[in-house]
């Protein structure tokens, strides 16, 4: 059985979870087995609708100790549940939660783990999963050599496949949960912001924008596109933008459908964080900027003139569509 971890936040199932379910369903089809979900805690959303992603059933553990996230507690609970239901392949999204959980579950079950997976496993000889390595500069094909396998699929790497006319059943699962030692004392949400790793479109700015006071044109473009905003390392280091927006080898690695780089020269460390983006647009006044070599589309020009015009043109296109 393939078991997919159903990650949720604020009572809602995350988009990255839908990708993980779609991926898990494809793995199950490939292995000739069923796909089930594992939900820790409760959500208000009607989870039977997850059947449209071909999820057959959801095992739910609704112990009060699971209302707050604690990796130590969750890892033990997931490992016990996976053993109890006889899961042979576990799938997580390699989002923030998946990064906290998949490794621990791997260690407890002694089940080989591939994180940052970007494709379905090759099961023609063994069980080989392709993952991104060297911060996006290369791929590795990693063989899992244990009976139980764990895959953490990179966000935005597998398309959500929905539309099946089925509903998922829910099966309560009894697992003894040991309360944890970590206490959450504060939760700071940057409300209204689109999550950078989950975003379809990312608009990113560099030193070419000259100062934080000039970010308005970039924010306008991002708003028009429903995009998340990002920045290069020098911009983060200079505190023009918050640290969590820094995209690159030592920051966040993203793989959106569309990455628009404004005033970023394209140092190799920056490219490492973005080169899995499907389409890259570069706007830079320096025609020699190395980023153009990694781009699909480019405009050589002054960002302060080009970006507002671009926002307008997109607005017009949307109005006529």
């Amino acid at each position: 059985m393939v078991l997919v971890y159903i990650d949720h936040q604020d009572n809602q199932i995350k988009k990255s979870t839908l990708e993980a379910i779609s991926y898990g369903a494809a793995v199950a089809a490939q292995l000739g087995t069923e796909v089930h979900g594992l939900l820790l805690g409760t959500v208000t959303e009607d989870i039977s609708t997850l059947g449209q992603y071909n999820l057959k059933n959801i095992y739910q553990i609704s112990d009060a100790s699971l209302s707050n996230f604690d990796a130590q507690v969750f890892v033990k609970t997931i490992a016990a549940a996976a053993t109890k239901v006889g899961a042979t392949t576990l799938v997580f999204s390699h989002n923030q939660t998946g990064k906290a959980l998949s490794a621990g579950v791997s260690a407890l079950l002694k089940a080989g783990l591939v994180t940052g997976a970007i494709a379905l496993p090759n099961t023609s000889a063994g069980f080989v999963v392709k993952k991104s390595v060297f911060s996006g500069k290369a791929f590795a094909n990693v063989s899992i050599t244990t009976a139980v396998k764990i895959i953490a699929i990179s966000p935005n790497s597998y398309k959500v496949v929905g539309g099946a006319a089925t509903t998922a059943t829910t099966t309560p699962l009894e697992i003894t949960v040991t309360p944890g030692q970590v206490k959450i004392t504060a939760l700071n949400k940057t409300s209204g912001e689109i999550s950078l790793t989950e975003a379809d479109i990312v608009v990113s700015g560099g030193r070419g924008l000259k100062g934080p006071e000039n970010w308005g044109i970039l924010l306008d473009l991002a708003k028009e596109l429903g995009a998340a905003t990002a920045c290069s390392r020098p911009v983060g280091d200079a505190h023009w933008r918050p640290h969590h927006e820094h995209v690159g080898q030592t920051g966040v690695q993203v793989a959106p459908n569309l990455y628009i780089a404004i005033g970023i020269s394209g140092a190799i460390q920056h490219l490492a964080g973005v080169n899995r983006s499907k389409t890259i647009v570069v706007i830079n006044k320096d025609p020699e900027a190395p980023f153009f070599k990694a781009a699909d589309y480019g405009i050589v020009g002054d960002a302060f003139e080009v970006v507002p015009k671009l926002t307008e043109a997109i607005k017009k296109m949307k109005a006529s569509a």
């Binding site: 130590q72 490794a103 089940a111 783990l113 290369a138 094909n141 990693v142 569309l258 671009l310």
Partner: protein, 247 residues
């Protein structure tokens, strides 16, 4: 308080990524090796700051690697730390590495274990989580600030769309990222002192490997950029809509 900082050796961020031996091995020719930036800039520097505040703090540095990892661990000692341990083994499987660190931690009884959030070569982001699970301690991943008062650690960690602040009173494994500390440059005094700091070499404990790398691939090169005139942004919008189907 006794702190363990886990250190990995990685290629420099500007290193050319190429493979040899039928794409089975990373091509090390001409590659400069560095301390994995997350381990150095954030994990190690934060541990040093804690020692500067409280000189009774003891810092151990640990790497799992062969003899070629020694220059890296010496460089780490030049930044700070009291002694270093190298477990003499290849480090290609995360579980194997975590099991080696756990074996040392079981003997040394650390109060706090720092790792970087991931290495910049294999991007596994796994060793910290595995280590915490083996030791059965809390695991705080993607941490952006760490402080301790008495026995209570206060930790900020990244979650989707924000961050949460937590407290914990036990031994804890913390995976560090940007925000935890600021990068430092080793000074001459540190470099001299590092020469005489103890570096212990341990033979590995018995542990399983759960994965193996079959081969590497490089991404297909881009077809080349299509340039659009700055006076014709409508053309770019049209291409993005009709050709790339990105908007």
């Amino acid at each position: 308080m006794k702190i363990l900082v886990c250190i990995s050796k990685t290629p420099d961020t500007t290193a050319k990524i190429a493979f040899t031996d039928g794409a089975k091995k990373f091509d090390e020719a001409g590659v400069q090796w560095i301390i994995n930036p997350y381990d150095e800039w954030y994990a190690l520097v934060r541990a040093i700051e804690l020692k500067e505040k409280d000189p009774s703090v003891i810092i151990h540095l640990l790497t799992v690697g062969l003899a070629d990892a020694e220059p890296i661990i010496r460089k780490a000692l030049a930044l700070g730390g009291d002694e270093a341990i190298r477990v003499n083994a290849d480090s290609s499987d995360s579980y194997y590495v975590a099991a080696q660190i756990a074996a040392v931690a079981n003997t040394e009884k650390y109060d706090l274990i720092f790792t970087g959030k991931e290495t910049i070569d294999y991007n596994g982001a796994s060793v910290g989580g595995m280590l915490a699970a083996i030791l059965d301690t809390p695991y705080l991943s993607l941490v952006t600030s760490y402080s301790i008062e008495g026995n209570t650690s206060t930790i900020t960690r990244e979650i989707e769309g924000g961050e949460e602040v937590l407290t914990v009173n036990s031994t804890v494994v913390v995976s560090c990222q940007k925000g935890v500390a600021e990068q430092r440059i080793p000074n001459m005094r540190g470099i001299m002192a590092a020469r005489t700091k103890p570096l212990k070499v341990l033979e590995p404990s018995t542990a399983d490997t759960l994965t193996s790398i079959e081969s590497f691939e490089l991404p297909a090169p881009k077809a080349g950029v299509k340039l659009v005139s700055a006076d014709n942004v409508e053309e770019l919008v049209k291409l993005l809509h009709e050709e790339a189907k990105a908007i």
